[in-house]
Structures are given as C-alpha cells and as structure tokens.
C-alpha cells in the first residue's frame, strides 16, 4: 500500500517544480521532487508515493519511458503533465501507464483536483455507484440517471452530488465541499459552491427524485432524501 500523503514531482523546469510543491504542500501532501526521469524512478522506489506527477518532455529519459519504468515496480497513480495539446500524446501517455493527463498551462485548482481524484481513486476504489433517492450516480462513466432516465450533469455537478449524497443528511461546509470537488479551497472563490448548488437545484426540482439540497445556515449544505 503506497503512502497516501506522499506525492513525487518529476519535472525538469525549476519554476514549475517549486510551483507544484507550493500547491501540494499546503494541501497536506509530503512532496518529493526529482529533476529528471532516472532520478525520478529512484525517488518513486524510495518513497512509494500515492501519486507521481511526470513531465512529458524532459532531457534524458522522457516522460513515457519514465512512466514505463515506474510501472515495472509501482502502482503509484501517474499524472502526466505536458505542454502539448495532443490526443496522440495523451494516448501514448496512457499506454505508458499514466492514469491521467493534464496540459500546461493549467490552473492550480485543476491540478490540485486531479491529484485528489487520483488519491481518492486509490483509497475509495471499489465503490462505483451511488444511489440517492431516485438518482443513481455511476462513477466509472460519470453519468447520472434520475428515475431511470438520463440526467445530464457536468463533472463538477456530478462530484458535488456525489460528495453530498455519500454523506446524505450530514451537513458539509463550503470548505469541505471545495476540498472534495475542486481539490482546493485556496485558489477559488467559495461562491462557486453556491452557484453549483443552485444549478443542481434547478435540475433536480422538476424531477420527482425525492432528493433536495438544503442550506444549513452558517455551515453549508446537506442533502435530504424524502422517505
């Protein structure tokens, strides 16, 4: 079992390396960095991280080859980071063993959310569907149905509904929601939670699913499922 709080950052650019560390450390991760592929492989072997972020284009071993070598001994979740927007490269990255692929430039929040999603995937693992009243959420396809018909949700709406629904009846603070859904509460306007709750409410109101999102004054939100 890898160390759930450890992240290895393999990145040759010093600015990006210190930025990623600056995002990850306040979020509670222990960050180890490596400046190239081969020392990165050693670092992963030494620290057994939950997640490894890997730059695609590095001198010496490139990201693909590094990913292949890491895959030979480790189940660490690999997030490949590339400056190129390229479907072929993403396919190659996944073939080399990457679990996710992110293109530069990216927002802190986006990066942080991807890391959290990878850590979560590692720990939650088995649970792939969630039933809340008449709503069924399928984590694998990120698709929802309400009373058997398709309920179109964006991935953030889906994650918000999942987060609230997994602890139905329990109030969640905006900060908790931000951490879970957006990956960080640092670089993002908390209003976004209220905004998404209102989007979700508008979608759920016309449907007879028995699910409603209740505002808990001074705290945040909770889901209520009608009996």
């Amino acid at each position: 079992m890898p160390n759930p709080n450890v992240v290895v950052v393999i990145e040759d650019d010093v600015d990006i390396r210190s930025l990623l560390t600056a995002i990850l450390e306040p979020a509670g991760f222990v960050v180890h960095t490596a400046v190239d592929g081969s020392s990165g492989v050693d670092t992963v072997r030494r620290t057994d991280p939950a997640v490894t972020t890997l730059d695609v284009s590095m001198p010496g071993l490139d990201g693909f080859e590094t990913a292949r070598r890491i895959r030979q001994f480790s189940d660490t979740r690999i997030l490949m980071v590339s400056a190129r927007v390229d479907a072929t490269e993403e396919r190659l990255a996944r073939e080399a063993g990457a679990d996710d692929y992110l293109t530069k430039p990216f927002a802190f929040a986006e990066f942080s959310a991807r890391i959290r999603a990878l850590v979560r995937r590692d720990s939650a693992g088995a649970k792939s569907t969630l039933r809340i009243g008449g709503i069924v959420l399928d984590a694998a396809s990120v698709r929802a149905t309400a009373n058997g018909t398709t309920l179109p949700l964006s991935s953030k709406e889906f994650a918000l509904l999942w987060t609230l629904g997994a602890r139905a009846g329990e109030p969640l603070s905006r900060t908790e929601i931000l951490q879970e859904v957006w990956g960080t509460s640092q670089f993002i306007d908390p209003q976004v939670v209220d905004q998404y709750v209102s989007y979700l409410r508008r979608k759920l109101e016309p449907l007879d699913t028995g699910v409603s999102i209740v505002t808990v004054r001074g705290v945040g939100y909770r889901i209520e499922v009608a009996p």
Partner: protein
C-alpha cells in the same frame, strides 16, 4: 559509371549511335552479299561464254578439228573418243577435270598457290558421241573488287557513324537548351517569382506551368504562415503589455492588499487570454497541417462539453452570469471526425465569446443534441448580439466587430476562426445567428 548516370545528352547520343551502327551493319552485310552474288554470276557467265564458241564449232563442223582458243582463255575439250582436242588449263585443274565424266556443272576450285577458279563443265551430245568441255575463270579479280568494296564500306560506315554521332549530339544539345535555360532561370528565382512559361506548346511549357502551380501553392502557404505569425505576435503583444502594466501596478500597490488583489486578478485575466490565444494558435496550426485524423465517440464529446461548461462557470463566478446546459444524446457510441480535446477548445471558445459579450446578470444556455445522428452544439446568450454586417466575416481570422475596440471584448479574433475551421475539418458547419436579443452559434458535426 552506369548508363543511367550519364547526362541526357550523352544518353541520347550513345543510344542514337548504337541504333545507327546496328542499321549500318545490316545494310553493309546485305550490300556486300548482293555484290558478291553479282560478281560470282558474272564469272560464271564468262566461263560459259568461253565454252559456247566451242560448242557451236563442234556442232556445226563435226568433221573438222576444233579451233584453237584465244589467248588467256582456259579451256579443256575432250572428244567422244577420249582424245584431248584443246587444253589450256593449268595442271592442277586438269588433275581434277581430266578424268571427270562430262556433265553440266560448275564449281569452285582453289589450287596449291591459293588461286581460286570457277570451273564450268558441259556435256555435248553429237552423232559421234558425247564431248566433255571444261572452262575455268580465275575469281581473283572479283575477290579484289569485293575487298575494295569492303574497304569502302567500312571507311564509309565509320564516317557515317561519326557524322551521325556529331549530329545527334548537336541535336540533343539544341533540344535540351531550353531545359538548361529554364534551370538557370529557376536558380535565379526570387521567393515570390514564377518561372517564365515558354511560348511553345510543348512538354517544357507544360512542365513550367506545373512547376508554377506548385510554386504558387508553396508561396501562398508561406504568405499565410507569415501573416499568421505576424498576426499572432501582434495579438500576443496586447495581453503581454496589459500583464506588464498590471504587474507594475501590483508592485506600486504592495501596501494596499485590496488593490493588490485587484491587480492580481486582472493579471490572471491577461494570462488567461494569453493561454487561450496560445491554445487556439496551436490548434489552428495543427488544423493547417492536416495532421489530425482523430475520431471521437459521442460519450467523450459529452465529457468535453460538460467540462467546458465547468470551465465557463468558473470564469463566470465574478460576473454573475449563469451558464446552463442540456445534453440530449441518445447514441453515445456514435463517432465524429474530431479530436475530443479540440472539441473542448471549440466549446471553450464559444463560451468565452458569450461571456465576453454579456453584461452582469446575463445568461448563457448551451445544448448538445443529436439530430438524425449529427451532433448539434448550440451556445446561445442574451447579450447584444453581433452587428449584422460583421456576421459575414466573423469566422475569418483576427476579425472583430469593431477594430478600434480590440481590448474591450478581450477576444483575440481567433476563437470563431478556430470554431469554423474545426467544424469544417470534421465535415460539419458552424453558423451564427442574431436572435435579438442575443446571439446563437450552432455547430453541426455529421456522424461518421
């Protein structure tokens, strides 16, 4: 050095010489054979005529002795009784014909000294019995004549071949001169020039026309590229200048937390524009090189679409703009000729345009649906719409509704160009429509 590595001129000349030599050889052999036949026939006729006078004499005056032959005439006449009446033949020949029975025949004979004779025989029947007559003619004069002819033919043939070689060299040179001239012109071409097309209507004119068409394409591509780079550089300068100023202001406001935060937010917006511009440029250049042959399923495009909605909502937080969406896709397995990330850029651009056009309190509603298998994306806003005369050129690169207000809307003028180019690449269409109020963009991608 192989034949194929010689110059065209040398190859034409060598080829012509080979063909001419072959033809000449055949002609010489035929001529020589004909002359030899004629000469041999002439020798035979002469030998026969030598005998003819004796035949007449014997037939007309059977009781008189046979006449003497003229000088130089080689004759042998034997009476039916076996007496040799006339004999001027050399010994070698007498050895051959002396005891030979009388027949009508002719054959060649070479003596010990190497001289060749043509020997003609006659049998002549008279009342007294059968006479045997033989005459011989030396063929040395015919052989001399043939040898003389051989000499003439060989010398003449070689002279003809040399003449032919020179002529074909000159002809090939003349024929290839326009090619050489064209090559020299091509060497001196300026980047924007075209090759002069010769007034003749031959292969060379066709070649020049074809090359010019190719040059034209290359030049047009190069002009487009230059324009693109210069436009792009120009576009990058604006947000960069803004960013520079915002950061300078941020320094000035270091003591004022609220002002500093404001400057940083503006700086973030500038960076956002730069990032979007870079992405659009990359996507456009990739479309330009036609290297994308990506195919995406409807499911992946739905994910990109809703991902784009999330991004648009994040951008819209501070502006109180609502972004609603709907997805009505029954066949998630349908395939479309577009890269899923490119589709994400397409929707990002449409949302970004709508957000830029909207005042606070505005609303965007987007929908992704299937109509007869085709994927239809609509992004509608309730903003001011576009000037009608701009709708026609809105999909062109680096165009904006009002050229003087380049920074007020924040657009780079590339977004819609990319939307249109991506839709076309996927075999589909993009359309703009003023809905008064607002603008609706519809992108239709046909199912594969």
């Amino acid at each position: 050095m192989s034949f194929g590595r010689l110059s065209i001129r040398a190859r034409i000349t060598l080829g012509s010489i080979a063909v001419a030599a072959l033809l000449l050889l055949v002609a010489l052999i035929v001529v020589r054979a004909q002359v030899a036949t004629i000469l041999s026939a002439a020798d035979a006729t002469l030998a026969q005529s030598d005998l003819a006078s004796f035949e007449q004499d014997i037939t007309a005056n059977p009781d008189e002795p046979v006449d003497d032959p003229g000088t130089g005439v080689l004759v042998y006449v034997k009476s039916p009784g076996g007496a040799v009446e006339v004999n001027t033949l050399p010994h070698d020949i007498i050895d051959v014909v002396g005891d030979r029975p009388a027949t009508d025949e002719q054959f060649a004979f070479t003596d010990d000294e190497g001289r060749t004779f043509l020997i003609v025989g006659r049998s002549l029947d008279t009342t007294a019995g059968t006479w045997a007559l033989w005459s011989a003619r030396s063929t040395s004069s015919s052989e001399l004549a043939l040898r003389g002819l051989d000499g003439v033919l060989v010398v003449g043939g070689i002279a003809l071949l040399v003449g032919f070689a020179v002529a074909s060299w000159l002809l090939a040179t003349a024929a290839l001169r326009p090619v050489t001239a064209m090559r020299k012109q091509a060497e001196q071409l300026e980047p924007d020039d075209q090759l002069p097309v010769p007034p003749t209507r031959d292969e060379l004119a066709d070649l020049a026309t074809t090359l010019n068409r190719f040059l034209g394409q290359v030049q047009a591509a190069s002009v487009r590229e230059k324009q693109m780079v210069s436009d792009a550089a120009h576009e990058l300068r604006t947000p960069l200048a803004a960013l520079k100023t915002q950061l300078e202001l941020a320094h000035r406001d270091e003591g004022d937390a609220a002002a500093l935060a404001r400057q940083l937010r503006s700086a973030e917006a500038s960076v956002e524009r730069l990032a979007s511009l870079a992405s659009n440029l990359l996507e456009l250049s990739r479309l330009e090189s036609h290297e994308s042959s990506a195919v995406s399923g409807a499911a992946a495009l739905i994910d990109e679409f809703t991902g784009s909605v999330d991004r648009a909502r994040t951008l819209a937080i501070g502006r109180t703009v609502a972004v609603d969406f709907d997805v009505r896709v029954d066949d998630e397995g349908a395939r479309y000729r577009i890269d899923s990330q490119a589709f994400g850029r397409l929707t990002d651009n449409l949302f970004s345009n709508a957000l830029n056009a909207l005042p606070p309190g505005g609303a965007i509603s987007a929908a992704l649906s299937q109509e007869g298998g085709a994927l239809v994306l609509t992004v509608a806003d309730d903003g001011p719409g576009m000037p009608d005369d701009f709708l026609a050129v809105a999909f062109e690169r680096f165009t904006r509704p009002d050229a003087s207000r380049t920074t007020s809307t924040g657009g780079s003028g590339l977004g819609l160009a990319l939307v249109d180019a991506l839709a076309r690449e996927a075999g589909g269409t993009a359309a703009l429509e003023n809905t008064r109020p607002g603008l609706r963009v519809t992108v239709t991608l046909p199912k594969m």
